[in-house]
């Protein structure tokens, strides 16, 4: 493990950089210094990692650093800009960058889903509301922007709280907790589990099998379940199919095997239905309730006077002072 002082020093530097950037009327030079220090601190912490993790690594570094930098810089821009619309646009950048990161993680479906849902749907809603709320203003006149946009509330408090948490997370990441050590995830069981999942989807297996030369005419075995027997290391599997009315064994390996166990969208679909059916239902309920809530909140609010409420509930008016029809009431 790298010396904790280096990591924490980087965290403090990052916090200082954020403070510089949060200064409301900071000069451009100071902002530049802050940006450089912040990026340096961020990459500095990242650079400590491989010296520590000599275990599980994966290729793809080429895309990681650009996306990571884009997302972090955009995030900082988002919280430092004084224009809410720019903040939303910077957030779109963050979402796009993180979508790229999701692709490097092999989560292609999520990468697109995030772009569609976040950048497409949610952010557009935000933009609508922003435009609704912000009267037509000249974007060039600083003074016309409301104060609450131009001045950060408590930059020091915010930076301290945020980066204190960051320090803890860094510490946890670098030490690992007792339960989660970064190197002990064994891929073989996961691959075997993926093969088993694929084995439950005979149509998908056949799609792969027919791509194997000479097995274009292969059929499902009649009256029998498709048997998928993975290799002990999970990198390939043997499938028994019917070819020319006779059982025949075919190997799924290489690219085909990768397709079988790494087909992202199918895997998610199966895992969602298989492992989290109740959560899926609950998510649906949450969305429905959110829709109801939004409808009720956005509905036009009608202020009723005391007497109107009484009348609505079938009681006689009592001639309250705020009653618009008060004059008509005769006090018995």
């Amino acid at each position: 493990m790298p010396p904790a002082s280096v990591i924490h020093a980087c965290t403090v530097l990052a916090a200082a950089a954020l403070l510089l950037l949060l200064r409301p009327a900071g000069s451009t030079r100071l902002r530049l210094v802050g940006a450089v220090v912040g990026i340096g601190a961020f990459t500095g912490i990242l650079a400590q990692l491989p010296t520590f993790f000599d275990g599980q690594v994966m290729p793809g570094g080429t895309f990681f650093l650009p996306f990571a930098l884009i997302s972090v810089i955009s995030a900082v821009q988002m919280i430092t800009t004084s224009r809410p619309v720019y903040a939303a646009l910077h957030f779109v950048l963050v979402v796009l960058a993180s979508s790229g990161l999701l692709v490097t993680l092999g989560a292609e479906f999520l990468g697109f889903a995030v772009v569609i849902v976040y950048a497409g749907a949610i952010l557009i809603t935000y933009m609508f509301v922003l435009m609704l709320a912000q009267q037509a203003q000249s974007p060039d006149l600083e003074d016309e922007r409301p104060t609450y946009d131009r001045f950060a509330r408590e930059p020091i408090g915010g930076a301290v709280v945020g980066f204190l948490l960051l320090a803890f997370m860094n510490h946890l990441i670098f030490t690992g907790t007792g339960e989660l050590t970064p190197g002990d995830a064994d891929p073989v069981p996961a691959r075997l589990a993926a093969w088993e999942r694929v084995g439950n989807m005979p149509g998908r297996v056949m799609e792969l099998v027919v791509q194997v030369p000479e097995y274009e005419q292969a059929l499902l075995p009649e009256g029998e379940t498709l048997r998928v027997v993975p290799d002990p290391d999970g990198l390939a599997a043997t499938v028994t199919v019917m070819l020319n009315d006779a059982p025949s064994e075919v190997r799924l390996q290489g690219e085909l095997a990768r397709l079988a166990i790494e087909d992202n969208i199918r895997g998610i679909g199966v895992a969602l239905i298989e492992a989290f059916p109740v959560s899926l239902e609950l998510a649906g309920v949450v969305l429905t309730m959110a829709m109801f809530g939004a409808v009720i909140l956005a509905r036009r609010q009608i202020e009723l006077t005391e007497d109107e409420k009484r009348e609505a509930s079938g009681l006689p008016r009592i001639g309250h002072h705020d009653d618009p029809k008060g004059g008509e009431v005769t006090h018995g």
């Binding site: 408090g157 204190l164 803890f168 907790t177």
Partner: protein, 729 residues
Amino acid sequence: MIGSHLLSVLLAAGDTAHASDHGHHSAHFPVALPTEGLGYAGLVLALPLIAMILNGVYAISGVRSKLPAWTTVACLGTAFAVVLNLYLKADIEHPVVVPLFEWINLSWGTGAISAPFGLYLDSLTLLWMLFVTGLGTLIALYASEYMESDVGPAYCRFFGGVSIFLLAMGCLVMGDNLLTLYLGWEGVGFASYMLIGYHFTKPSAVAAAKKAFIVNRIGDLGLALGIYLTWLHFGTLEYSKLFEMLQADGAMAAAQQAMAGGWEVAIIPFLLMAGAFGKSAQLPFYIWLPDAMEGPTPVSALIHAATMVTAGVYLLVRTFPMLELHPAAAPTVAWVGGATALLAATIGMAQYDIKRVMAYSTVSQLGYMFMGVGVLSTFGAAAHVFTHAFFKAVLFLTCGAIMHGFAGQLDLRVLRGLRHVKGWRIVVWTMFYASLCLAGFPIISSGYWSKDVILAEAFANGRPILGGIGLLTAGLTAYYTFRVWFRVCCGPKPDDHDLAKMMGDDHHGDDHHDEGHGEEDHHHHMPHAPKWAVNLVLSVISLAAIGSILLVPEHGWLEHMVAKSSGAGGVGANHHDLPADAGFWADPHGWMKYVASTVGLLGMAVAAWLHLFNRSAADRLRATLLASPLKAVVRAMENKWYVDELYNALIRMPLKIKGHALHMLDRYVLDILVVDGLGRLPKMIGRTLSPLQNGVLQSYAASMAGGVILIALLILVLPMLLDLLGGAA
């Protein structure tokens, strides 16, 4: 079980048992056997109980007559008749236990405690009950007149208290086990408290009642512990079983017993002694008795002179065999008694309040009784209890009559010439006779006979210093007794003007509210002579005192009564046999008659010189003494040797300081830091944290983040701490 084990140990040790070191063996005395057919003896307890309940009913129904007094007198008189009947029927050679009902019977595991409510009727019980119920009846009769100014609820309360006292005293004396005795012991303590504090609106009476109760409690703690240890080591509290065990082998040596049971057994007599000293006003507990004179005079006479204060003597005589559980027990009793006798006598000499003089003389005489028990003369002690009960009752009752008649005047410097006042003859002469008894006038006074036995036994028992103290005290007693009588009853004849000047201020004594008194106008200016009830009672008790002379001498009725009871070990005939050819001085019982008479007469002569013939000489003497180097002694005597002040400084003040310190601790440390602090903590936390709830969303978010950090710290630091601890272990 424990007791039988101890017994077998003792029997096994019996082969090598040697005679106890002071040369006396426990004499055999008959142990009571259960019997049928004497169940009516329970009436002795039931009648005071009935009187008590009736008095309560009277109080509730607002009776405003002398009915409570007559009810009480009737019940107590009947109880006396029952006791008399029991005495006539009883065969004192064969005492009996009359079981009344099962009271306490518990058993758990291998332990058991049983205290059947029964009556132990032997000669000692009957002796005590005769004078307790007899005097109780007479004094209740006296009180019917004495208390007449209080007719109403207070009157009922007074006689209710007297009934409670008689009931409790009956339990104490007649109970057949130590637990019943303890019940009665606490009962008389309560009755005493209730009656001392009869005038509960008077602060001094309340203070005296509290003092009596608290001082008694200290002694009672000893008694309770003694009873507990007795049960623990003998396995029973019933007298008959205890006595059987204790005299199973007549020669059983006290030292052997003590060794077999260890110090827990050896300490039993001392614990019982503490109870006795408390109840009987001995050093160091005597201080409550003089203050107890705040109670109405009949109460002083009955409870604080004649009966209750002799309960300690009764206890020691009753458990006399247990006194031998430690060789130092009896000498301790003797020395405490002797010291108390002398100390109280010296204080009594210097008091001006005649009731207080009598109170100190009671303490002093009780000291004699304990000296008697301590020098192994239970006969002397019991005899003195018996005679003292009558003559001291007379003395108190006459004091009460004077106090009543003179509106609370008790100062012997003011009172004089009562002899010449019409209507006071019986008071004057019964008081004279009782004073003779107290002074130990030869032959014709009962006190002479009983005191002689104790003094002679002190010498016979090889304790000449104690005997000397006793003789000195006898001389002092004669002096202060006649000082009172000469001062109050003799002197120049007072005319009406003088009498009016003698009247008290009405607040000093008992009868401080005289509603309903027939001669109100007259009353406050002139003394009124006692009426028939007081005179009758005084006469009867004086006659009883004279009659007791016949019972007291050696080998007489009283000695016989004691010799057949548990006090047998302390009766002269049972120990020390003198050779027939011994000279005159060899037998203290022989010469003591002459020596004690001489000392008593000397004391009376001094009193006569200073207070009868030459009434101003006393003041001159006092002035001379105050000018001499002895002035410190005189001052000390007048101030009761500063014992109250000593106790105040040694016991009360430290307790008070401690109490204050603890109060401060409680008030300023516990209350503020702990009690209030606990209450204030959430408030402070709330006040500290309430700015956090400022409605600003961001600060809520910061708080949440802080909470997450705290939890993370916990998760992070806790395993590290555990590792550290594990590594250390």
